[in-house]
């Protein structure tokens, strides 16, 4: 039991904007009206936020683990967490180890993370890694927009069957929702091609196009009543001029809800690397007039990182552009992934445009309930650098100072210098916690109302924004103080959120022969057993 008194509370889910409120957490770890006994934290001169929620990150599974293997040179220079009698050691950096991932997220006040790209085939692996990420609660999304069984069904017009197959896959993976990456493009990559035109049939098919996949999958997510709508990584990521593809993709949603992943990478004009420019205002306008859509920034920070994405063809291009290491892993029937280490440089025009574009989206989309803090970790930068982004959002002067480091010719390529908006604390709390929690359908997260999870972060109220957000005074997870003045106190195990959509029981029988044709493991061994998920919390989804 815990009582937090005298702190200025920022709780956007309940419209509380800096008023002094008392927050109580009962013995079950939930926010309560009142408690008797237990510790009291005097938060005088401090501010109180709901724990951060990362809507889109890559922290567990085959792809990030591939990236770990590819970056030993980074592990040996980065943060090291030293073993104690009770706490495991770990390494931070571009691709942190599982234990360090938990420490680093909790260390800056984030208490829930969503692993955004999981092939069903290796979901067992992802869940094992998620189990080894301490403190935070977790969810994961299943990759679906290049699954050949589902694509074949859509090609043949069997929408209902496709819907049941998708639901079957979500439960087989024990995941929380659907992620669509470069619809059709990863399937085409299996033959070394890509899918760049939204309305052209994808390689190997006559009817379906990336556009139809987007429309149908968005509808499937809606009809299955999944807590989180389709989580969409658009086609043509990273390419100059891709704003046209992105806007076209959004139109193919036909008014349905969707979360657009890392939109910074999808908001470019120009027709080549030299002429590449930011077209974020166009994209922001679309979001401003379509409140059913949410997005995360996928912001870029200068420095070293490693890029990992299911977008295999893009990674091949990046390898050719940079000449650096290239990892690629195509996953039978389902998806692929590519890994390339990358350094974002302020002196590089393209990188400078990307840096500006991420911030522009966060600043030009008016409603913070629609645009969330992310770097698409580790693609645009490591998650543990989020406090730097918060500072850039809250301090226009600091932004202007950073702009002076960029090439002079950048001005014609970006709109950031013209933007004066500064985030308020209330808006930061929305973009880092309340908004992503609501988009994910996690009703007890990002909310300090009675009955919600007792995930709270308390900061010193100082002018040094980066210091303040990087070093919380207290982080409380489920009512337990896990971080206190920069020290890890406790490392409780987090929970995992699963969604169980309903599907026709005959789906197993229908799937089996299709499965056996393209997979190499036994159908019966494929679904992840529920008992393998430690501390699962299942959301039943009833479709109408």
């Amino acid at each position: 039991m815990l009582r937090i008194v005298n702190g200025k509370v920022y709780d956007p889910a309940n419209g509380i904007d800096g008023q002094v409120r008392e927050i109580c957490i009962d013995e079950s770890g939930r926010i309560a009206q009142n408690v008797t006994g237990g510790r009291t934290i005097d938060a005088t001169g401090m501010i109180v936020f709901p724990g951060g929620v990362d809507v889109h990150t890559h922290v567990a599974g085959g792809a990030i683990n591939f990236a770990r293997a590819m970056t030993p040179e980074d592990h040996r220079r980065t943060q090291a967490f030293i073993r104690t009698k009770t706490r495991r050691s770990g390494l931070g950096g571009m691709a942190p180890t599982t234990f360090a991932t938990g420490y680093l997220y909790a260390g800056m006040g984030w208490t829930t993370v969503n692993e955004a790209a999981v092939p069903v085939l290796s979901a067992r692996h992802t869940h094992e890694e998620l189990t080894d990420i301490p403190i935070v609660d977790k969810a994961s999304l299943t990759l679906m927009a290049n699954n050949e069984i589902v694509l074949d069904l859509l090609e043949n017009g069997e929408y209902e069957r496709a819907k049941h197959a998708v639901a079957w896959y979500v439960w087989a993976a024990k995941s929380y929702g659907i992620k669509a990456v470069n619809p059709g493009g990863v399937a085409a990559w299996k033959w070394g091609h890509d899918a760049k035109q939204l309305t052209s049939p994808i390689a190997g098919y006559n009817n379906i196009t990336p556009g139809t996949i987007v429309t149908q999958l968005a509808r499937i997510c809606e009809e299955l009543n999944l807590p989180h709508p389709i989580h969409l990584h658009c086609n043509n990521l990273g390419a100059p001029g891709n704003i046209a593809t992105t806007i076209d993709t959004l139109k193919h949603l036909e008014g349905r809800r969707a979360h657009i992943a890392h939109s910074q990478y999808h908001a470019y004009g120009g027709d080549g690397w030299e002429s590449m420019c930011s077209r974020t205002s166009e994209l922001a306008d679309y979001f401003n007039s379509h409140p059913q859509l949410t997005t995360d920034a996928g912001a870029v920070l200068f420095g070293d990182t490693v890029t990992i994405t299911a977008d295999g063809p893009w990674q091949h291009l990046l390898y050719k552009l940079t000449g650096r290491k290239w990892g690629n892993l195509d996953v039978e029937n389902e998806t692929g992934c590519g890994i390339v280490p990358y350094t974002y440089r302020p002196s590089n025009l393209v990188n400078a445009v990307q840096w500006a574009a991420g911030l522009e989206l966060l600043l030009l989309i008016k409603d913070p309930w629609q645009v969330f803090l992310s770097t698409d970790h580790p693609n645009g930068g490591c998650f543990w650098r989020y406090p730097e982004i918060i500072k850039l959002l809250m301090c226009a002067d600091f932004r202007r100072e950073c702009l002076t480091q960029l090439p002079a010719r950048i001005k014609k390529h970006i709109t950031l210098p013209e933007i004066d908006r500064e985030y308020t604390l209330y808006e930061v709390a929305t973009a880092m916690s309340a908004g992503p929690a609501r988009a994910l359908g996690l009703t007890r997260k990002g909310n300090l109302g009675v009955g919600c999870d007792g995930d709270v972060v308390i900061y010193h109220d100082t002018d040094d924004v980066e210091q303040m957000f990087g070093h919380p005074r207290y982080v409380i997870k489920g009512g337990e103080i896990v971080i206190e003045e920069g020290e890890i106190r406790e490392t409780p195990e987090g929970r995992e959120f699963l969604a169980r959509p309903s599907y026709d029981p005959a789906t197993d029988e229908f799937m089996k022969p299709l499965f056996e044709e393209c997979y190499t493991m036994s159908f019966e061994n494929y679904p992840v057993e529920l008992e393998r998920i430690e501390r699962a919390e299942i959301m039943e989804c009833s479709s109408e």
Binding site: A60, N65, F66, R68, A69, M70, P72, H75, R76, R77, T78, Q79, A80, F81, I82, R83, T84, K85, R88, S89, G90, L91, G93, A95, P96, T97, T98, F99, Y103, L121, S122, R124, H125, E128, D132, K190, W191, G192, H316, Y319, K320, K325, W326, G327, N328, L329, D330, V331, E332, N333, G336, I339, V340, I488, C518, Y519, T520, M521, N525, E529
Partner: protein, 321 residues
Amino acid sequence: MGGKVTCTLGEVKQRADFIIYWGGNPAECHPRHFTKYTIMQKSKFLPRGRKDRTMVLVDIRETKSVKAADIFLQVRPGRDFELITILRAMIKDQHVADEQLAETGLARDVLEDLVARMKSAKFGCMFFGMGLSMTRGKHMNSAALLTLAAEMNAFTKFVAMPMRGHGNVTGADVIMRWQTGYPFGITFNRGYPRYNPGEFSTVDVLVRGDCDAAFIIGADPGATMPQPAIDHLKRIPTIVLDPHVTHTSRLARVHITTAPQGIAAPGTAYRMDELPLPLKPALKSPYPTDEEVVRRINAAIADKPFWLPEGSQPQMLTAQV
């Protein structure tokens, strides 16, 4: 150089019309590889199965796998790296001198034919075995072959994959990576993981006599390692967990009999393409599982004083020195 361009085995089954086995003998070491995953499978893209696929075997001698191959290339022992380097040049139409070719023991027209076939493949896959990765050049050979596969993607789809053996060694690799960042050759002697093959790899550690106790599980170094390494295992307290009393058990201070994995112990094992598979034990062993025994040993160690006194170290180093 660096990285790996690969896929799961189902992609090979579905698509690979051109397959190279390099320095491996699947017919004897991975007997179902041909039939379950590669050349013998029919798929919607390769409906005639074996007839739609070309298989090339590269090795220093004829093995039983030759019978399954369309083309056998006998490379001179210890010249794999040279051959791969020549292929990397030839795919890019770079000049290769006759004397360089002669080193490999293969004729120019044979290699030109190979390169033409590689480039005209729709989906090429190279599997490499210990004949490549454990002979002269070792990991440099593997890295060169992985680079060749990556570079082939300028022309067509191409991937490569090691033919890993030794049961669940892939699982160890995968788990060490997510828990420590590194795949093997690790020390925790500063309280956090550090990596340096050659310094922290077992044979080197044992031959130098650097460790003063050894815990051996799921391996029998007493039967496979060089004699100076075995001699050191005899000198120090060695603890062995194994379903059998092994060579190593006989030189150890402690042997504990455990249930064999997948037969009497449940759990997970990783396939060579890093796919986790559940185990379904048939038998109930009179012995405990490895998992249970190691957990109990860990609990017993945890009851004793911790080697780093509380507060003697910072929680986190912001950068390693």
